[in-house]
């Protein structure tokens, strides 16, 4: 028992949420981020929260440091060692184009230089058998290449040999040899991403090496910052898979930290969905520049290993599966050359920001549209910390309206509608990819702008329920706090239902599991209670996309396997409407998840504010136009109360829009729900 702290370092703000488990009390803080010195904002947030440092038991930080270093190209110089003959694979990539009809698109530039890609004479075949052994003189030759480049750059080594996921001996021997002699960090592809597809695995190993020196510095700085605050517990980092790990362990696999800054939103969203009593949610985390969408199924975010930094630049590690759409409060409305009104993906960002910020922004943004429609309160934006100038919004809308030959209110309403439809379409695609009917899901609205748009997005998809957590703008930090220690391990295999035996599958699972549990204990800082989940990714032979099937733990018996195959066929049929009996089933990947026990968090209940006053303002709604709409502060809502729309609910970091045909339910557990009225 003590104080648990979750911190999210975003591009604009660093948020902190802490819970005092003894007192059952919550603390929150919001401070400006400092992109040049990310650790200093963490220290500032801790200071602002005013916690008793000695009682802090754990600090989990979600950070964008990894992704930023890749985007700004400020990582280490990487030497890439690979099987001779395949040195150019990071440059050749997968040969497809992002757009069909665009000469301007450029292929991703690799994080390595071509002369730093060094071929090693060694080779395995597709069953992991050695065709060419790795000779010591070959390693000596490589050592010379490495030493000749040790000219003061921050250096790191990445190794990716063909088929290393089947037998890692050559990669391991290479690391042992080079580490002893050079002291440089070495990332091995079979450890970072044990999957087939040499470009994806190799690129992930390169990203890992590229970030290693930087992460080392960051983790040291973070440790120092905690010590200087008098905090004795060691820091943990949120990983891309939404689990946390001791920072000292996590820095060994920087590629697994790439989505550290995004994962918190998904974890937080899943937590609030469960709190509201549903296992099926669509997290819509909409901030200033973009909107992250994540599906929650069975009470947990969906995971995938096909994240791409940009088109064609994959980082194939287990990550919460998030789709980012260029739609946020700062998204710019514009007229395309065909005369259609478009919104985003361009954004005015935080600086200069929307026109109404009064910082010289000339563009018309979604925030300006919401302000003109009466949805936002110019005197209570960010809890009154930023005064909005509605006249600047009107002027900006007027400029856009002139191009379209329509009036400003019409344009504002259209911008909101276009943005909502864009998000609804993106959500439909995300659900179709999973074979899911979105109408059974609830939207979990987070981020400053999520609750403003959520009900109308829901309506466009046919969803009738929206969940709004307390402090929706802090939900990512909340996710860091709600996260558990979690290890995701995968192993590529090549088995079919004809060839696989229960004994072999059991053996592979046992190996994978014992390694994963060891990793789990290292990341948790000791033995901790945990749950192990197994699954197999399967497909009909010849297909390219898999369906995951859960497998029971322990030793498998031969007659267990047919049940697993039947489960696959049923899942497939439920997604696609038919099954293909008689066609062999391929087992492509074995997957093991080791996850710590769910921690019970005290309810985060708001309320106790002054009773609702009779405030109202004119707010625009489709098919109604401007209507007098009651405006209430969230902390004035009585628990368990229900009120009909339209209504506006304002709180420190967000504004909730309740349209006319919806009602607002103030749940007992700190979440608000918007429910569409039947009929």
């Amino acid at each position: 028992m003590g104080i648990r702290v979750g911190i999210d370092t975003g591009g604009t703000f660093t948020d902190l949420v802490a819970v005092d488990e003894e007192a059952g009390r919550w603390h929150v803080a919001k401070v400006p981020s400092n992109p040049k010195d990310p650790v200093s904002a963490v220290a500032a947030a801790l200071e602002a929260a005013g916690l008793d440092p000695e009682r802090i038991s754990i600090v989990v930080v979600g950070t964008t440091i990894g992704i930023n270093a890749v985007l700004t190209r400020t990582g280490a110089r990487v030497l890439y060692l690979t099987t001779k003959g395949f040195e150019d694979v990071p440059f050749i990539q997968r040969i497809s184009r992002k757009y069909h009809y665009d000469f301007r698109w450029r292929k991703p530039t690799p994080l390595v230089h071509r002369p730093d890609c060094i071929g090693v004479d060694e080779r395995l075949d597709e069953e992991g058998r050695e065709l060419v052994p790795l000779a010591t003189r070959e390693l000596e030759r490589v050592l010379e290449s490495v030493e000749s480049r040790a000219d003061g750059d921050r250096l790191a080594i990445a190794v990716c040999f063909l088929f290393s996921y089947l037998d890692p001996e050559h990669e391991l021997a290479t690391r042992t040899f080079l580490e002893e002699r050079t002291g440089l960090p070495v990332s091995l592809s079979h450890e970072v991403a044990p999957i087939w597809r040499e470009y994806e695995r190799g690129t992930t190993a390169i990203v890992d090496a590229y970030l290693k020196p930087l992460l080392d510095e960051y983790v040291s700085g973070l440790g120092d910052a905690l010590v200087s605050q008098g905090i004795s517990s060691r820091p943990s980092l949120l990983k891309s898979n939404g689990g946390h790990a001791l920072a000292a362990e996590a820095r060994e696999r920087p590629a697994h930290l790439l989505l550290s800054g995004i994962a918190g939103g998904a974890i937080g969203g899943a937590h609030f969905a469960r709190l509201a009593g549903t296992e099926k949610g669509i997290v819509v985390d909409m901030g200033g520049t973009s909107c992250d969408v994540c599906l929650i199924v069975g009470g947990e975010p969906l995971y995938s290993s096909d994240f791409e930094i940009e088109y064609g630049f994959p980082v194939s590690v287990p990550s919460v599966s998030t789709k980012t759409i260029g739609a946020g409060g700062g998204s710019i409305g514009w007229v395309d050359s065909g005369g259609f009104l478009q919104v985003g993906p361009g954004s005015a960002g935080a600086d200069p920001g929307p026109a109404c910020y009064g910082r010289g922004g000339e563009e018309t943004t979604l925030t300006d549209a919401n302000l003109a429609l009466g949805r936002l309160n110019p005197d209570f934006f960010l809890g009154g910390r930023l005064a909005l100038d509605a006249s600047l919004s009107r002027a900006a809308l007027g400029r856009l309206a002139a191009k379209l030959g329509r009036d400003a209110v019409d344009v504002a309403a259209s911008m909101v509608r276009v943005a909502n439809e864009n998000m609804a379409n993106a959500i439909r695609i995300v659900t179709v990819e999973q074979g899911i009917d979105p109408r059974e899901f609830a939207i979990v609205a987070m981020g400053g702008a999520g609750p403003t748009h959520a009900a109308e997005i829901a309506a466009a998809i046919g969803i009738g329920r929206v969940i709004v957590p307390a402090n929706p703008g802090l939900a990512s930090a909340f996710g860091a706090l709600a996260a558990q220690v979690r290890v995701d391990a995968v192993k590529s295999v090549y088995l079919t239902d004809v060839r696989a035996t229960a004994a072999e599958v059991s053996r592979l699972f046992t190996e994978l599991e014992s390694r994963s549990v060891a990793d789990f204990e290292a990341q948790a800082g000791g033995v901790a209670s945990h749950e192990v989940r197994r699954s197999i990714a399967m497909r009909y032979q010849g297909q390219n996309y898999e369906t995951e099937v859960t497998v029971p733990g322990g030793e498998l018996a031969d007659d267990d396997l047919p049940g697993v195959y039947e489960q696959f066929a049923r899942l497939y049929e439920s997604f696609y409407g038919y099954r293909l009996d008689g066609i062999p089933i391929e087992l492509v990947r074995l997957q093991v998840v080791v996850v710590g026990e769910d921690r019970r968090l005290p309810e985060l209940v708001q309320g106790g504010g002054p009773a609702a006053r009779d405030e109202s303002r004119e707010v625009w709604f489709p098919e109604h136009g401007f209507v007098a709409t009651p405006v209430v502060r969230r902390d004035s809502l009585e628990l368990g109360s229900v009120r009909g729309g339209p209504a506006i609910v304002e709180e420190m970091d967000s504004t909730i829009v309740v349209p006319p045909a919806w009602r607002l339910e103030s749940g007992r557990r700190g979440v608000l729900e918007l429910v569409r009225e039947e009929g």
């Binding site: 395949f86 997968r94 696609y576």
Partner: protein, 571 residues
């Protein structure tokens, strides 16, 4: 905007049309069996009104832009709109009925709403093996369509949601890998049901009248926008001529000619002057020629014009029947789609180079390097067939270099990872690399081609076929504005024990060095595949010195060539 529907609703209905087609495509990608289908994404999805107008599309592969337009309209016209009942699916792959080439199979399903026909959902996909004289159904020396695979006129493969099993059995008996056919056609047909449901939901939400009116207005809108784009191109007549090295049957170059007339807000693209139809399969169907023309124009105009029937209205295409750009029955055409299409598209782009110097690009590699092989796998004893292709260098532009190693314009396939390739097929990859100096020199440099060397595994026989172009001197990807030609393609063999790679003509006496079928390779034989580089743009001596230095540092350009062609002096 004109019309009665507000532009925001129009945009929303348009996005819904596109989204329905994308949903159809994603379903197909996840359930199809052939790599060319699920990894190569060689398919397109479309939505039509009941009058045969395309109102929405999501092409995953540009080759089908025109084919998908013609196939549905022509099939509905041929069978009669009244012959479609709810739950029917019509299948066809006839290249003379709007298709691009015979491996592409189209399925079409009517969408009814409240018992009345609204329109059609359809998709076109490339089946990897459809029989014919050569495994992989890319018969590079075919002289008639009958050698290219099983030809299917429009037939009902599903009647009122009941599969016509007699037809299924007939088709599968004529394909070499029927299990893939079964999986792919099921994926195509299954995705139609997903799309049908989405269309019906859209009609429920907005009402039939509004959706139909919106579709009409959207077509007019696209037409107007395309006319605006064309009006911005200076009026005039612009011509370009190019050659392919041979047709696979007769060893003689084939000449193509285009004249593009820009006349106010319309474009006339006239292919008259192209050689008569040739004996071998590089003939383009009308669907290919039209598709290549549209592909070029889409590269030169605003990408975001909604792609519906309206966008094509301002463009007229003249392709004389019986010529190499409009093959007639029973002429062969399988290579027209992959080899001829990219060159035709680049010709239209090159013709417009003087009118639009800031927008065009030099020629790309322009051959898919189709390499097809099959046999019995020594480990499993199963019969396999594979369609392999490569990316080449792309053409440089006034403002930037061309990309290295990218698939031809008519497609958007990915390569097969070596680890997947070796797991499935008994060929070992020895090398997969960029070819230095293969990019056409210029102020902006053409992209590099790639080299791949494959070796046949022990105790294995493999039957191989190839359909390449640009292997002979003088046939490389052209440069523009003084830029140089890209490096050549190659398909060569080194028999076990030989010292050097030779062409297949030298080693096996094939008529064409780049187009041949049914060559048997044995244990230890090696195949070398070079993809071509892209053309350069502008005078290489005017190239920014930092770019030259970086090319030399990265090894994209050798110091000798940097000195000789770029006038670069090593500091």
């Amino acid at each position: 905007m004109g019309g009665g529907i507000d532009p925001v609703t129009l945009a929303i209905v348009n996005n819904a049309f596109v989204n329905i087609c994308r949903e159809m495509g994603i379903t197909m990608m996840r359930t199809a069996f052939s790599p060319i289908f699920n990894e190569g994404l060689d398919f397109s999805c479309v939505l039509f009104d009941r009058h045969g107008n395309m109102i929405g599309q999501a092409e995953f592969c540009p080759a089908q832009i025109a084919a998908s337009l013609f196939i549905v309209r022509w099939t509905v016209e041929e069978l009669g709109v009244d012959s479609f009942e709810e739950g029917d699916v019509v299948l066809h792959n006839d290249p003379y009925r709007g298709g691009a080439h015979i491996p592409e199979h189209s399925v079409i399903r009517p969408v009814f709403f409240d018992g009345e026909l609204f329109g059609f959902v359809a998709n076109v996909g490339h089946l990897a093996e459809i029989g014919g004289k050569a495994v992989g159904s890319f018969a590079a020396d075919a002289t008639e369509v009958f050698q290219e695979g099983l030809r299917i006129p429009p037939v009902k493969i599903v009647s009122r949601d009941r599969p016509n099993m007699d037809l299924w059995r007939l088709i599968m008996a004529n394909h070499r890998t029927p299990r893939n056919t079964w999986g792919d056609l099921n994926a195509q047909i299954g995705s139609l049901r997903v799309a049908e449901r989405s269309v019906q939901l859209l009609l429920e939400r907005y009402g039939r009248d509004l959706v139909e009116e919106a579709a009409e207005e959207l077509m007019d809108y696209s037409e107007r926008w395309m006319r605006t784009e064309i009006r911005a191109i200076p009026d005039g007549r612009y011509a370009f001529t190019a050659r392919m090295e041979d047709d696979g049957v007769v060893e003689r170059p084939v000449t193509f000619h285009v004249e593009v007339t820009v006349d106010g807000d319309r474009l006339i693209v006239d292919w008259t002057g192209t050689d008569p139809q040739v004996r071998g399969p590089i003939n383009a169907t009308y669907g290919v020629t039209a598709g290549a023309t549209y592909n070029a124009i889409f590269h030169l105009t605003d990408q975001s014009i909604p792609k519906n029937s309206g966008v094509y209205r301002p463009i007229s295409i003249i392709a004389p029947p019986g010529s190499a750009v409009n093959v007639v029955y029973p002429g062969p055409s399988v290579g027209g789609n992959t080899e001829t299409h990219p060159k035709l598209a680049d010709m239209v782009i090159a013709a417009l180079a003087q009118a639009l110097p800031g927008r065009v690009a030099a020629a790309e590699g322009g051959t898919a390097c189709n390499f097809l092989f099959g046999g019995f796998h020594p480990r499993t004893g199963d019969y396999y067939a594979n369609y392999h292709l490569e990316g080449g260098g792309w053409g440089a532009k006034d403002y930037d270099d061309g990309n290295d190693a990218i698939i031809v314009k008519n497609g958007n396939c990915r390569n097969t990872p070596v680890e997947i390739f070796e797991t499935r097929y008994p060929l070992r990859t020895i090398e997969y690399s960029l070819i230095p100096d293969s990019g056409g020199p210029g102020r902006m440099r053409g992209g590099l081609g790639t080299r791949r060397i494959l070796r046949v595994e022990p105790s294995t026989e493999v039957t191989v076929n190839a359909l390449f172009d640009r292997t002979k001197p003088g046939f490389g990807a052209w440069g523009l504005a003084g830029g140089g030609t890209g490096g050549r393609a190659a398909i060569m063999v080194r028999r076990k024990g030989d010292a050097e790679f030779r062409t297949f003509s030298e080693a096996f006496g094939t008529v064409s060095p780049s187009k041949f079928t049914n060559i048997l390779l044995e244990e230890g034989d090696e195949v070398l595949i070079d993809s071509p580089g892209g053309g350069g743009y502008g005078d290489p001596r005017a190239r920014d010195r930092e770019r030259v230095a970086r090319d030399v540092y990265e090894g994209f350009v050798s110091p000798e060539r940097a000195r000789d062609l770029y006038g670069w002096e090593c500091p």
